[in-house]
Symmetry: C2
Subunit: 280 residues, 2 copies
Amino acid sequence: FEPMSMFTPKKKTQAVSYCIHLSFSERAKVCKHPVAKRLFTLMEEKQTNLAFAADVTDSAEFLKLADLLGPHICIFKTHIDILSNFTPNVITELKALAKKHNFLIFEDRKFADIGSTVKNQYRSGAYKILDWADIVNAHSVPGQGVVEGLREAAKGKERGCLLIAEMSSKGNLATGDYKAATVKMAEEMSDFVFGFISQSAVSRKKTMIHMTPGVKLVPGAGTLGQQYLTPQEVIIERGSDIIIVGRDIYEASNRLATAANYKKVGYQAYCARVFRSKDE
Amino acid sequence: FEPMSMFTPKKKTQAVSYCIHLSFSERAKVCKHPVAKRLFTLMEEKQTNLAFAADVTDSAEFLKLADLLGPHICIFKTHIDILSNFTPNVITELKALAKKHNFLIFEDRKFADIGSTVKNQYRSGAYKILDWADIVNAHSVPGQGVVEGLREAAKGKERGCLLIAEMSSKGNLATGDYKAATVKMAEEMSDFVFGFISQSAVSRKKTMIHMTPGVKLVPGAGTLGQQYLTPQEVIIERGSDIIIVGRDIYEASNRLATAANYKKVGYQAYCARVFRSKDE
C-alpha cells in the first residue's frame, strides 16, 4: 500500500506528505466528526499532542495520575480491564477529571469480534464502556462488521473509533494488504472511525488522526516484543499526530515533570513539522 | 498457505487429509498438552463435539443454560463481558456446573494486544479470566508477544489457548499470509496453544484441535456480516473437530432438544469422517 500525496511538495519523507502543512486547528475546521473536531481543538488550545497510557492496575493510582497529568495531555488512554479494584465510582471520578482538565478518554479495548458480539461488549458488562469512553478502538481483522456493531451501539452518542492499522510489537501481522484493507475500511466508515493507531500516517485524509504508541525519548526494544520510537521520529519523520506514552511517565521518579517534558517535545515536533512544511 | 498431507490417502478434500482417520481418543493418547488431552478424552466419553456459545446477557439465564445443556456439550463458550448483572458468584456457580457436567470453560476474549497488556487483562480486572477459564483465545495480529504474555500469566496452571486462524464474518482479513503466519505461530508455541478457531483444518498436527463458529443446520447469512455453515460441511468437508453453536440453541423454543440434536448431528459427522477415512 503506497498512498499518494495530495499536495506533493518537494522531496520529503513519503509518509508525511499529506496534511502535515496543516495545523490541528485548520484540520478541526474541516472536520465533520464531532470527536475528531473536539480533539483537534483541545490539542491546539492545550498545546499538547501527548496521550497518556494509564497502564496501572490500582484504581487509586489510576485516578491520581488522571488528576496529576490531566493538564498536560489531550487523551487519557485506559485499559479499564486491568484495574484490580475497579468499582463504578472509578468511572464517575474519571469523567469528572476529564471535564476538569479537558481531556478525552480513550478505552484501548481493541474490539476484535463479529458485530453482534462487540455491540454487547461495548455497551454492557461490568464496564459499560460506551457510557464513558469518548474513543474506543478496533482491530479490522473481523471485517467491517466490527465497526458496524460498535457504530450501532453508539448511535446518538458523541463517540468515535480508531482502527489499528499498524502495531509496534515484534512480528505483528498488521502489514501489507492487512494495513491497506484497514485504511480503506476506516475511510469508508469515517462517520464513526476518525483515525488510526499506527506507526506512521497511513491515510492521506486530513480529518483522520494518527496516534502512535511505543514512544520513548530513548528508542530501543522492551520485553515481550515491544519496540520503541522517539517523538521526533513519530511526528516529524512518520507524520503521526499524537504520541502515546505510558511506562516512561508512570515509572518516572517525577511523573509530572516527565509528562510535561513529553508534552513539550511532542508539541515542538508537531510545530517543527507544520513550520517546515509551510516554509518549503 | 497450502499445508501438505502427512498421510496422503486417495483423492479427498485437501483440508481433511491430515488426521481425520484418527479418533479423538487416539489423538488424546499422543497429546502432551493437558487441556487438549482432557478435551479429546471428554469428547469421546460424552460423545459430543458440540461447544455452546452462551451469548446471553443475563447471568441467571447464562447459568441456567450451563446446567441445562451441560450434559450435551464439551465446551461452554463465554463472553463474560456481556453479562449485564455479573458478580463473582456467577463464576463460582459456573465452575461447579463445569465439574458436575464435565465440560470445559472457554472465555472467547480474543486477546489482541501486546504481551505486557494481555498478561494483565488475563489475570486481573473484574473478571480474573485466568482463575476460571480452561481455554482462552487470541488474535495473532500483535505477533507472538500476545501468546508469550498469556503463557507467562498462566504459568503453573492447566490452561490452554487457541489462535484465531480464520473467521466467519464477511470481509474478514484472516486469510492468506495472515492465516499462514497464525498457523506457524501456534505450532511454534504448542506448549500453550493447542488449537484454532477456524473454518477448516488449518494445521496438519494431530494434537491441534480445530473449532468452528458460525454453524447452523440451515446455512446462510446473518446480520452484521455473519455467515453460516452446516455441521456436515464443517466436520466432514472441512476437517474441523468442534462445532460452536449459539443463537440456534438459545433462541430455540426447545433448547434442550435443539442442543441434543446438534450434538447428534455433529458427532455423527465426526464418526462418518473417521469411518470413511478408515474404510479407504
